[in-house]
């Protein structure tokens, strides 16, 4: 995995993605290709447009111009729930769960049904509950399933958020700072989970400031500065890139 050959299967791609807030160009003409089946990392200084880019891709913000395609399909400006249903799961920078719902209920929100009869049927479907429990076991918070999410610790909420995303069976998982505000042991656990899930075929797109985590986890690193990618490649390549050093250190 030391080479970054162009991906054979298309995953998430953006072409000329642009978003401005007033005079601030948060994302400028960003053309990025994420590698299918790999752990992609998106790094860059604060304010370099990573989260805005994230939000444009997942439909939370409508980009001013440019296109986003997922597995060859144009998903630009689609509603967030449609993008989610297309197979992209995401977490939020400041971890977000449904505070006054129990852990199990939090999981069941991600169950996707479209038929009216299924929607009106009871939410406590045994199969779905089993699936939710299995995921909770996997992230290690199954003993808390009847606790309201607001009573969880921050780290547990992070794990719950990740489990909730997995409940929707996404192909591609976008994590916005999974290690932010989390103790080192938990960072290790989250990192391991990401690797295991990746081994099961999930593509990851991780925004992260924890360089140890980025460099150890990811196969492909994209560096953002002032709203556009300035470098990409393997962790080793990126770390040696002078433009990256300049962006980060200002030398």
């Amino acid at each position: 995995m030391t080479t970054t050959a162009p991906p054979t299967t298309r995953n998430l791609e953006t072409v000329g993605l642009t978003k401005s807030f007033g005079g601030v160009h948060a994302v400028r003409d960003a053309t990025v290709t994420f590698h299918h089946g790999k752990i992609n990392a998106l790094i860059g200084p604060n304010g370099s447009g990573k989260t805005t880019f994230f939000n444009c891709v997942t439909g939370m913000i409508k980009p001013d111009s440019g296109t986003v395609t997922f597995r060859g399909e144009d998903i630009t400006r689609r509603a967030p729930h449609k993008i989610a249903r297309a197979g992209i799961g995401r977490s939020f920078q400041l971890c977000r769960v449904f505070p006054r719902m129990t852990v199990l209920e939090n999981m069941l929100v991600a169950v996707r049904r479209t038929k009216v009869r299924e929607l009106l049927a009871g939410a406590r479907n045994p199969e779905e509950i089993d699936k939710a429990r299995a995921l909770l076991v996997r992230v290690g918070i199954d003993h808390l399933e009847n606790v309201e999410a607001r009573n969880l610790s921050y780290g547990q909420q992070k794990l719950l958020e990740l489990a909730g995303v997995l409940m929707g069976d996404p192909d591609t998982i976008m994590l916005d700072e999974p290690a932010g505000g989390v103790n080192p042991a938990l960072i290790g656990r989250i990192g391991t989970l990401v690797q295991e899930l990746n081994a099961e075929g999930k593509t990851f797109l991780v925004v992260e400031h924890n360089m140890d985590m980025v460099m150890s986890l990811s196969h492909h690193v994209i560096v953002f500065d002032r709203g556009r990618p300035i470098a990409e490649g393997t962790p080793a390549v990126v770390q040696a890139d002078p433009r990256v050093l300049e962006a980060y250190l200002g030398v």
Binding site: R96, V97, P99, L120
Partner: protein
């Protein structure tokens, strides 16, 4: 794989954490065991409530008390109807009186102008409210939070002005007399009939609310209430969900209004399209607890009886409004979640603790899982809590190398 080395020690622990925890089932079973008790209590309370409601007309000492009971029930209907939107999605509409008024006037006008039978007119008015709400909802639900509150007020004010000004059609401020559905009934009998009709409407609403509460649809709505963006990111089509909740809420409010028109028989825009009525709905629901089936009903009984009492005591003064405001202040200060949650937490304080989080921190869990991992790992799949095991098996010590062949059920 140069990247694996750094996380290797951590991966061992993480893998242990991911492994099935044998006594996970025990932790789950504990709260479930407490549930039958609650169910019996709840059922008993429900029976008592039903008997009380059914017996009220015969127990009422005079026609005034009975009519006050009907007013309280109609409040309960509107507050419960409001709660389809407010309770599930968290969108506070102060303008639900618009649908109450539309249902009332719709019923009255359909009887007067088209000569429809009373209850056909009532249902038709409900259908009209439903249809009107769709475009209104699409417009109003483009905004959230405080903006939604303002938009909801705007609609009721517009309707108030229209119905006041368009006197030739609506009767304007002179009022609209709605023909009685049971012309040959005496007054007490008329009251008794409508008391039961309102009660039946309330039961239908409560059953519908209960059904949504436990459904997948309801789970999605509650997710919207808790965090709308997050719900959307998990694939919940939030706009459509909100719209359906809004339409259901408005339609039930309209049906309550129509029923009121049939009972009271005299409509005035200032009362039907009143901000106060909309505010009462919110107050009642908040007072009882918006996240509970019987919250709005409880709130309506308290606020409704209070209002009737104050009106009786202080006559035409506006003191009943002051009293309502005081009540609202008390709710916000001391029971922001409402009476039912406040009482529940009080009861919980004396009962056994909820499965405590501090009992087991993540670190302790890791510790325990590591201990479990030290024992022969082969035992794990044989555990009865087998539902969880197949996932756990992925968590080998070589997470990356453990090929993609074990692709899961996607």
């Amino acid at each position: 794989m140069p990247n694996a080395s750094d996380t290797r020690p951590a991966s061992g622990r993480g893998a242990a954490a991911a492994r099935a925890v044998p006594d996970a089932a025990g932790a789950v079973a504990a709260p479930a065991a407490r549930r039958p008790w609650g169910r019996v209590v709840r059922l008993a309370a429900l029976v008592v409530l039903a008997v009380l409601v059914l017996a009220f007309p015969t127990m009422a000492p005079n026609a005034y008390i009975l009519s006050a009971g009907i007013v309280v029930l109609s409040y309960a209907c509107t507050a419960t109807a409001w709660n389809f939107m407010g309770g599930f999605t968290g969108y506070v509409s102060l303008g639900h009186a618009a649908f109450f008024g539309l249902g009332a006037y719709g019923t009255g006008l359909l009887i007067r102008d088209l000569g429809l039978p009373s209850f056909v007119a009532w249902l038709t008015a409900g259908a009209i409210v439903l249809l009107v709400t769709i475009p209104v909802g699409i417009a109003a639900l483009r905004v959230r939070g405080a903006s939604f509150v303002i938009v909801s007020i705007a609609f009721v004010l517009i309707l108030l002005l229209v119905f006041q000004a368009w006197g030739t059609f609506t009767g304007g401020s002179d009022g609209l007399v709605v023909p009685r559905p049971f012309p040959d009934m005496l007054r007490p009998e008329h009251h008794r009939t409508f008391f039961y009709l309102f009660a039946a409407l309330l039961v239908v609403m409560l059953v519908a609310w209960w059904a949504i509460d436990r459904s997948r649809f309801g789970t999605g709505l509650k997710a919207v209430r808790e965090d709308e963006d997050k719900a959307q990111a998990l694939g919940v089509p939030t706009r459509n969900y909100k719209l359906v909740a809004y339409v259901v809420s408005a339609t039930f409010t309209g049906l309550a209004g129509g029923m009121y028109a049939l009972w009271f028989g005299d409509l005035d825009p200032i009362f039907q399209f009143s901000i106060m009525l909309g505010a009462y709905m919110v107050l009642m629901a908040l007072l009882g607890g918006v996240r509970h089936l019987f919250g709005p009903l409880l709130g309506a009984v308290i606020v409704g009886s209070g209002l009737e009492y104050f009106k009786l005591e202080f006559g035409d003064t506006q003191f009943h409004l002051v009293a309502t405001a005081l009540l609202l202040g008390i709710v916000v200060l001391f029971m922001p979640d409402g009476i039912i949650p406040a009482v529940q937490s009080l009861v919980k304080r004396f009962g056994p603790q909820d499965s405590s989080i501090r009992e087991m921190t993540a670190a302790e869990l890791l510790e325990r899982n590591r201990a479990a991992a030290a024992e022969p790992a082969a035992e794990a799949p044989a555990e009865p809590s087998a539902a969880v095991v197949p996932q756990g098996r992925h968590a080998g010590d070589e997470p990356v190398a453990e090929g993609t062949g074990e692709e899961k059920d996607r």
